[in-house]
Symmetry: D2
Subunit: 207 residues, 4 copies
């Protein structure tokens, strides 16, 4: 998967291997899961998700642009032995989701907070919401929306840094250049609905 | 998976979620793959691998210690819906591997260089060898053995750092404490056999 | 200095050695410089600055609180051979600065943007403004104020991470725990005054 | 200093500003100190040290190569208001040091372990030995030599990472590229002489 991602034509932001692995693990993607993804982008995340849920699972991948979907589908067809469990849909997830009983929602979109109220309805209890965002302000706005929604718990943000090493017979050291930043991964778990006022004590973590 | 790993009783070194994700992606684990793992440890890697290969794949998990295998099997039984594709074996992979036509070999062992000659025989061409090691000296010794073996290509080492963030309504900043180190991930790809002397030009990467 | 800082009683936020070194270098502190600092805090930055400017320089250290000044002065007296070039002043730098012809302004305050207009007047052309801030939002607000002021150039923010290593005869690896975050260092250089509308092309760097 | 270093012609390895600051702080350079440095290189470290010790201190800067010394001296003359307290010397510090009663020894050399026995003689009790090294193996060899010498205590290695940030009105995020590695800083403090066998309990730190 790492090799494949680096070879794929870069149409949208490409999600780096280090982040793909983290999305699978922190998104808790499991075989048989029903996963909604948006946007389809280049299809890199779609393919990783499709592999991880297996044939018994289901991937619904939304994008706003017909050409993106075409490209993502072509990449998926080329790289997956079977795509019968992957559905690409043209549509705007900010406006709403047609699906429900979703196990996981994985978003690589600039304004994921618009999806939060729809996700609160569409996710099963215990379902995971995951968003990949490049800037800190976006993380802030998303976190505030998730908190005030009152349906989400365990709201956490991490970033993953990959440090390559150079190892030769006489020299071992980190590589002199590295990728300094790709994006932040924010996750939240849908809990049983509570009234927002119960959240007062939950809200602000400190360390 | 992230949640699960943190809850699991710590018997052997626990592999952190950030590393589990990287092992799946940099190990290029795919549905249907035949994967050998050693050692079984707590079963955390076993379970992640079993999920990723799906029911159509196969996991053979070796450990030297009967009690480890017992524990890993108990964890796998508790956390996987189906373990018919997971086999635990008591044995010392430093001495040799009974399997062949393996797609992937994933090692969490202190001296993985002893497995390199056996891996060269047991992996299919294009098969991936991955090792997780805590110290730099071990990475050096493994890399030297992989290079001199003459059967492996694209020998690379990375480490993954996870930086947690603290996000509240008024404050956004990285968390004040973080895990500074878990281990290094070294990968290599088995190529078609070549005589070692052809390797002269491959050997020492620079950056 | 590193040793000393760790031993000092922690009254205000202590600035870590890694950040002290960066403040000296990115603040371009030189022998003979006239430096304004606020707040005095524990005196750790004051002492590092006093050493770096030497007896031929001058440190004016402001704090809002009498008790802080007392403590900082006691620490400075205990740790510097000579404090004749260090002046502590009770005062609120948000309201204005009595000094001018300052070479450097070093701020460890929660709302340094209030100081920007005063700094624009008090710094010599080429003078350096440096601020140490724990959260990203503060860095954003400060940067916006520095940009819109039209008197500052080369506005940059960095953070410094220190990774300790564990080296024994048999094992070399990073330490397993590290400090994940202390603060961000924002620097700007006072240029000759320009009208703000000339700034249109300066404004937004990309990488 | 940060600006200056980036402008300086790169003849030898240039020490980055982030490391210069750390060398001053972790090397505990103070006004009036007597400091031996090797090699002179481009003079960047020499100049930072000369500033930090002030006119009351003294810098002796060794290099093996006449042309390096010429260049370092030219840079020092151009950038320091006064160089009367800086002496450049042609010589091989692996063979021995002519100086004694040194407060600090700062080494940017490939095999600093050859200097350890000479440093043990030349440093005052409490004096600091600091070495900047690019690879892990070198750090290992130096640390082992410092430990077995029996004259040094508080032997520590750190590395400094600088992460630049991009801050605009609408976007705050780390820069997408960063320097992944420059070097490791190893420090040790000369204690009163002890017999090496007393070191058995000191030797191996764990975390």
């Amino acid at each position: 998967m790492a090799d494949f991602t680096r070879q794929m034509p870069r149409i949208a932001t490409v999600v780096y291997p280090k982040d793909l692995g983290a999305i699978l693990i922190f998104g808790d993607i499991f075989p048989g899961a029903m996963v909604l993804e948006a946007g389809s982008g280049s299809g890199a995340v779609t393919i990783a998700l499709a592999r991880a849920v297996g044939d018994g699972g289901q991937i619904i991948s939304y994008d706003l642009r017909e050409d993106m979907i075409k490209r993502a589908r072509a990449n998926a067809d080329a790289l997956l032995p079977n795509t019968s469990h992957v559905t690409f849909k043209l549509g705007d997830v900010y406006q709403g989701l047609e699906e429900n009983e979703l196990d996981r929602i994985i978003l690589d979109l600039p304004e994921p907070w618009h999806v939060v109220p729809h996700a609160a309805e569409a996710l099963v209890p215990g379902g995971v919401f995951l968003s990949f965002l490049p800037t800190v302000m976006q993380v802030h706005d998303l976190t505030q929306t998730l908190r005030s929604q009152g349906t989400f718990d365990i709201i956490e943000t991490v970033e993953i840094l990959l440090r390559p090493w150079s190892v030769t017979s006489r020299s071992i050291r980190p590589a002199q250049r590295m990728v300094g930043h790709t994006g932040f991964i924010t996750t939240a778990r849908r809990c049983s609905r509570r009234s927002p006022q119960n959240d007062i004590n939950v809200a602000e973590p400190t360390d």
